[in-house]
Amino acid sequence: MTSAVPSLLSPDGSQSPPRSAAADLAQETLALCRRLFLQLLRRPSTLVAGVLQPLIWLVLFGALFANAPAGLLPDGLSYGRFLGAGVIVFTAFSAALNAGLPVMFDREFGFLNRLLVAPLRSRSSIVLASVLYITALSLVQSLAIMATAAALGYGWPGGGGLLLVLVTLLLLVFAVTGLSLGLAFALPGHIELIAVIFVANLPLLFASTALAPLTFMPPWLGWLAALNPLTFAIEPIRAAYAGQFSLSAVVLQAPYGDVTASGCLGVLAVLAVGLFLLIRPLLDRKLS
């Protein structure tokens, strides 16, 4: 309690050397990101559960429909191989849907105020850190599921196919993360956020082509599934797994017309950009 006192406790009157905005932004975003990853490493249950749940889907659902009548699936595909793409997308989707939870807890416990008192170069770094964290987390989980599915004999997409899978997942994760972060600022508390996540999760899975092809569904459900964003992520990945990798190939024969792989990616990209534009005014208001 002695010699260090004078310099430490006196106000810093020196003008710190001017730093670029980019350097400041990088420092604050990385610091916020590091915090989220430290939390994950010390409490890995989110990571484990996020891999375990889709794995159970894959094994149980795969077994349940293993004896599905021939002709149910196009091109004589086995159900396990058909299901793989759906479970991969579901994994990334669920992880991204939870993106808002840490933000919501920071709001509720007041940790967010600690961040808002600091002279952040831009408060977008709070959102950016969440997006980076969730993207990395959901990709790791999806890759773990893909590796397990490959080990179970459900195949592995080739080089170009893998790229298509990753791009598709990225677009989906961005869109859903935007939605979840928007909800985290719009809803009053974590109870409401969890309720919305709970209600959205399974119906979106069932009303998609994850578990059954469009041809198998009654027309009204087929329409729903053909409009469901998850379907636009599932079908390109399914095509990539089938090895028939081409962006211009038709991957979805929807009631309203044929959709190519690039069309699916386009829809997801528009959705991601649109959602971020939609939540921006909300974030600006809550973080101003």
Partner: protein, 350 residues
């Protein structure tokens, strides 16, 4: 010191006619109703007032967490509403409800904080090491925050408010609920800070704390500053001596009122207030020494017992009583049951 912006030139914190309302329509609550405050450079300034008087709202406005409905906010020469980031760089804020990340260690939390203030890595780690030894945190700083006691949390929060060596440090009830040792440690650091040129503004509803620490103080009541100045000056301005009279250890209201009438008639007694919080004792303001003897005679003539009859110079409590018409303790009791913790948490939530 000369490099510090705004040194010597006027107050370092200036609030003019601040108004703040929470909620809308019938359920609106007016937290601040035209609050004025001027904090001189380099002093230790105390904001004194009961819970719900508007202290926290005032400090949150200074920390740029809240925007007032109207009024002028200047910190270190900057307009806080036009340049909030400039104010954040120069101001350290230690909130009352300490939000920590349970999973991080104290050292990791400080490092995060240092990065949010854009300290270069070496400087950041050097200052963290210094603060750890200054605040005696060596023994537990690498443990997770979830395991900390109240005193540890408050010290860690003080450290994080000091990390960027701010010109102005704002603390909301920094010692509420703390053990004596932690309180003494925090008081010592606050005094050192003031001596080294940092302006320290703290809120408190402990009279002794403000009396012991503050060079200047302002009494806040009902969203307004109703008295401000140096403690000695405020006390001296009151004049007269203070007498506390208790006919019984615990009296009741009718008896207190009866005695009040009796002593009020006594020549040399200027003012009599019934202090409900202290077992209906009577607080008197008297002209000179002889009055106490006079009182003793009158009480024994009325065959009333005397449990305690004490005389003293005016204290800060008397300053408060004079300004508000009730003791701080009474004010505390009056609002104790009427606060809505849930609504207050909502106000603080983004």
């Amino acid at each position: 010191m000369s490099a510090v912006q705004g040194a010597g030139a006027g107050p370092v914190i200036e609030l003019q006619d601040i108004r703040k309302r929470y909620g809308k329509g019938d359920r609106a609550v007016e937290a601040l109703r035209g609050l004025d405050l001027a904090v001189p450079q380099g002093c230790l300034y105390g904001l004194l007032g009961p819970n719900g008087a508007g202290k926290t709202t005032t400090l949150r406005i200074l920390a740029t967490l809240l925007a007032p409905c109207s009024g002028v906010v200047r910190v270190a020469g900057l307009d806080a509403l036009a340049d909030p980031r400039g104010v954040r760089e120069r101001l350290g804020y230690v909130a009352q409800e300490v939000a920590l990340d349970k999973i991080l260690s104290g050292r990791e939390l400080l490092a995060l904080q240092g990065d949010l203030y854009h300290l270069p890595r070496q400087q950041r780690d050097g200052r963290i090491a210094e603060l750890i030894s200054l605040l005696g945190m060596e023994g537990w700083i690498d443990r997770r925050c979830g395991t900390y006691s109240g005193g540890m949390r408050r010290r860690l929060d003080l450290a994080s408010g000091l990390l960027h060596r701010p010109q102005v440090l704002v603390l909301d009830e920094p010692t509420v609920g703390l053990d004596i040792e932690s309180r003494a440690a925090i008081w010592q650091v606050l005094r050192q800070l003031r001596d080294q040129g940092t302006t320290v503004l703290l809120s408190s509803h402990y009279l002794e704390e403000v009396d012991a620490l503050a060079d200047h103080l302002a009494i806040i009541e009902d969203g307004r500053v109703i008295a401000a100045g140096r403690p000695q000056e405020l006390k001296a301005a009151l004049g007269g001596d203070r007498v506390t009279l208790r006919v019984r250890e615990f009296s009741d209201e009718p008896e207190a009122l009866r005695v009040q009438q009796l002593v009020q008639a006594c020549p040399g007694v200027r003012q009599v207030v019934v202090n409900r919080a202290q077992g209906y004792s009577l607080n008197l303001v008297v002209e000179h020494d002889g009055v106490v003897e006079q009182l003793r005679r009158q009480l024994s003539e009325a065959s009333l017992p005397v449990f305690a009859l004490a005389q003293s110079r005016p204290s800060l409590d008397d300053v408060y009583l004079q300004a508000t018409g009730r003791t701080l303790m009474d004010a505390e009791l009056a609002v104790a049951g009427s606060r809505d913790a849930k609504a207050e948490r909502k106000q603080a939530m983004r």
